[in-house]
């Protein structure tokens, strides 16, 4: 005696289709079953589900029992069928999506490995090439820096030499000036020389009465005037 409401036990080879149909109808639920006969024709059926199986006799209290079909609201029934249609559509779509996910995963695991290995190898090769390129660039950069440093050293040395030369020239100029000044200092008028220079200037009158032409000839007044 099994407590399984949904299973209907029939002889196997003939009634598989009937079982499937009945199973489907049973799974639909009480409210969605095809409409029962009108209440004027009540059914006299023995109960085929519940605690007792078909082989257990009905109780004595149920001898004159007449079953009337459950009342069904047609508006509600229509709404229910529509709702079930859309619900089942959505659930089926969801289920198919989940199945697709699983298929994709299995495919990935089966064949994705190869692709992963190939990608890893390609990546390794590219990385190695990149490393080589980096090393080459580094060598070039180092040589360039060395050349630049040498160039800078040379320029610095040149500048220093030039600076030293300039300093020497400057010093020479200054020394010349100093010597010139020393020589000039001999003709300066000081407090000691003042009286003697005045006497000398008075004794040797200079004549500034001369002019220059544009060509540069000196013109003096004729002698005698």
């Amino acid at each position: 005696m099994r407590r399984d409401r949904r299973q209907v036990r029939l002889a196997v080879p003939e009634c598989l289709a009937a079982r499937a149909m009945l199973g489907a109808v049973g799974r639909l639920g009480r409210s969605v079953r095809p409409p029962a006969p009108a209440p004027s024709l009540p059914l006299l059926l023995p109960p085929a589900r519940g605690r007792k199986s078909r082989h257990d006799p009905p109780a004595k209290s149920k001898i004159g029992r007449l079953r009337t079909p459950t009342p069904v609201d047609p508006v509600e029934m229509y709404l229910l069928t529509e709702r079930y249609k859309s619900y089942r559509q959505i659930v089926r779509a969801l289920r198919l999506e989940f199945m697709e996910e699983i298929w994709k995963k299995t495919y990935e695991e089966k064949y994705g490995r190869l692709k992963a290995i190939q990608d890893a190898e390609e990546h390794k090769q590219l990385m190695a090439w990149n490393q080589a390129e980096n090393a080459r660039q580094q060598a070039l950069r180092i040589s360039r820096f060395q050349r630049q440093e040498q160039e800078q050293e040379r320029l610095r040395a040149q500048e220093e030499m030039q600076k030293a030369q300039e300093m020497e020239a400057f010093l020479r100029e200054k020394e010349k000036e100093v010597l010139q000044l020393q020589e000039d200092a001999k003709t300066f008028i000081t407090k000691d020389n003042l009286e003697e220079k005045i006497e000398a200037a008075l004794n040797n009158p200079q004549n500034y009465n001369w002019a220059l032409t544009k060509e540069g000839h000196v013109i003096r007044p004729p002698r005698g005037t």
């Binding site: 509600e76 229910l80 709702r83 619900y87 959505i90 659930v91 969801l94 989940f98 199945m99 699983i102």
Partner: protein, 132 residues
């Protein structure tokens, strides 16, 4: 002599995986576990994987707690598991599935009943107050 025909008539029908509620707990204290199990197994027997639980008695805040491992439920549904009505209703209420039609219908029926009761209660009040 061995009777072979009954053995030959019996065909083997393989079961299928179902996501259903397994009852565990104590007397007067039910507790359901949402479980993926083969269809033919006992209700509380061996299962493949537990996917959640459901406490039908409300807690101190008036909530009935449900736990769902959605990742694994997706996996089992994609592998072709069936669902029972209570599990469908729970998934619908959680938002993972659309709301079950019977949930909506029962709610509407309840609303209508309550409206009728309210109307009848107000009518009863009117009839009480009118003669007095």
């Amino acid at each position: 002599m061995v009777q072979l025909t009954p053995l030959l008539c019996k065909t083997y029908r393989a079961g299928h995986v179902t996501i259903r509620l397994t009852l565990s707990g104590c007397t007067n204290r039910p507790f359901y576990r949402i479980v993926a199990a083969y269809n033919k197994r006992a209700r509380d027997g061996r299962f493949l994987e537990q996917l959640g639980c459901y406490d039908p008695l409300p807690n101190t805040n008036g909530e009935k707690l449900v736990a769902l491992n959605l990742e694994r439920i997706r996996h089992w549904l994609g592998s072709g598991a069936h669902l029972t009505k209570p599990v469908e209703k729970l998934l619908g209420l959680s938002g993972f599935f659309p709301l079950h039609p019977m949930t909506i219908t029962n709610a509407e029926r309840l609303h209508r009943k309550r409206a009728l009761e309210a109307i009848s209660a107000s009518q009863a009040e009117n009839t009480e107050t009118a003669p007095s």
